[in-house]
Structure formats: C-alpha cells, structure tokens
Subunit: 152 residues, 2 copies
DNA sequence: CAGTTCAATGTATATTTATGCATCTGTAAC
DNA sequence: GTTACAGATGCATAAATATACATTGAACTG
C-alpha cells in the first residue's frame, strides 16, 4: 500500500462512510488493511484537498475542495473527476448542469475551469452541482456533448 | 455589547482581516472593545455558520456557510444579506448573476432558496458568485429587478 | 419579593488536527 | 559497496477547537 493507493482509498472511504474525525478514518483504513497514523492522514487530507466542514444541517463531513496539482493534462483530470464523482450532465438553455457527489462540486468546477475550453464562459460550483455557462444554446449543446464524451 | 452585536462584529472583523484562528479573533475583538473567551467565539462561529477552511491557494480563511435560522421573514433575510455582502447583480440570458464578498455566496444562495420565489428555478452558489436560474430571459429580467430592489 | 427558568458565558478540559524532529527506505552518484 | 539525498512516515507534542459543567443575570410567575 503506497501513498497514492492510500489516498485513493481515503477518498473512497470518505465517500461511502460518514466519517467525522481523522481518528475514525484511521480505524476505517485499518479495517481496509491500511495501517497508518493520524499524522499521516492529516497530511494526506491536506494534499488531496479534503477538509472537514459542516453541511447545512450541521453534520460534520469531509468535502473535496481541490488543491489541484496544476495538471499538465487538464482534460485528463477533468475526465477522471467526471468518472469518479459525476452523476449526470444536463443541458439547460445556454448552460450545462453537472450533478455530482456531495462535496465534490468545487473540485469539479476547478478542473472545468482548468480546461480553458472556448465554449466555457465560466462556471459556478455549489456542493453537488456545477453550472457551466456557455454563450448560447448552440454552444452549450456542443459543450454538453464534449463533457459527456469526456466523462465516458 | 450583547450577543447579536458581537456576532455582527465578528462578521465584520473576519471580512476585513485575515484571521486564521479563534485565538486571533479573540484578540481582534478585544481590540475592538469586545472581551470574550475563545469558547464563546467557538459557539458564535457555529451559530453564525462560519467555518474555517482553506481556499484554493491553501490560505486559511473563515467562510460563511449558513445555518440559516429558519427565518419567518425570508425576504427580509435576503435583503439583509444583499446589503451586507452583495457586490453586484447582473442579468445574463435566463440567469441572474450575483457577486458578493468572498465566502459569502453559500449563505446568499441559501437565503435565495428560502425565498421560494416563483421566478427562481434554482440557484448554485460558489465562493463569491451565485447564479440564480430562471425560466427564460423575461422571467430573469423580472427577477433581476426584484433582487435589485430588495438589495436597496 | 421569592422562586423558577432559561439563555449566555466563563473555566477547565477533552477532542481533534497539525507539525517538529527522528528514522527508515529507496535511488542515484561515485 | 558506500555515501548522499529525498520522500514518506511514525512518535511525541503543540496548537486549535469543542464541550461538560458551573455560574450569573435577566425575565417571568405566583
């Protein structure tokens, strides 16, 4: 179990379990066969860009707030995010509405910004929704197709 | 200095200063003539809905992530938010784009959701931008007017 | 007024997270 | 093979935040 595998595992565990402290996460990882200390987890979370927060109901949760690694491969990064966290891509007038896992939207928005795609005028990410704004409906359609292909 | 005044002061201080711990905030408040302990600050921040987070550059910041007090007066709450944090309201096709102070967008989005306004199909809040989606351009124009009036 | 209740707050402490420092491991250079 | 170096990690602890409990004071009731 190397660092990269562990960080991937962390994302999976956090996505699938309600974790409210690094201590719990250490236990979950151990159960999954990955024994590391809280210190390592602390560093991992920072590197991945995950941080503790409360949602609107006050529940504690770790959300994905990207510290994107200035990718040399923006469309690859975007494709990976779409595959990992995407839940649906819809067209709405001159916009494309992306649904994704709770907490993942900011990260999604970041990789879309990083595409520097001509058809993207700008995008805003909430918690589980990203709205990507295009010039007009026609552009949005093309963009929507593009993103769907990217997401597989 | 009562609780409400103090919490208002906290928001002002956090908006105007780079604060990275409750300890610092305690000091700033003391300098402003409000002497309370870290424990009180901790409780205040939770009540207001402010939480520590890191922005994309890794800087620590307190952001406004609302625990809105099920207002009996949604449009009043919205008006207050617009006055306190708003920076501009623009029309864009079938959308209204609200700019606001960094970190304030989620709170802004929440109070707009709470309006349950007929013209609002939905909205997504980023960090300093809220996109409010309406049915068509005409509706968006009406909505834009409404919000501008609300914000004074 | 005495008694009751409740919100606000401080104190002390628990809990959670971050980090300085030492160690280990693997790789590259010689 | 040996030395040098860098990244990853643990250990111990510091720093930051949350909270259990006690206290106070204001508002209300009889």
């Amino acid at each position: 179990m190397n660092k990269r595998q562990r960080q991937y595992l962390i994302r999976r565990v956090l996505r699938d379990n309600p974790i409210s402290s690094q201590r719990e996460l250490v236990d979950e990882l151990a159960a999954a066969g990955c024994e590391v200390t809280q210190a390592t987890i602390s560093r991992d979370l920072r590197e991945i860009g995950l941080q503790k927060s409360r949602d609107r109901e006050g529940r504690v949760r770790y959300t994905f707030t990207p510290v994107t690694e200035e990718r040399s491969d923006p469309s690859g990064a975007c494709a990976r995010m779409l595959k990992d966290f995407g839940r649906g891509i819809e067209l709405a007038q001159n916009m494309v509405v992306l649904r994704c896992d709770p907490g993942a939207a900011p990260g999604m928005g970041k990789v879309i910004d990083d595409l520097h795609h001509d058809l993207v005028l700008g995008c805003v990410a909430g918690d589980d929704t990203v709205i990507v704004v295009s010039k007009d409906q026609q552009s949005a359609e093309a963009l929507c197709d593009y993103l769907r292909r990217l997401g597989g």
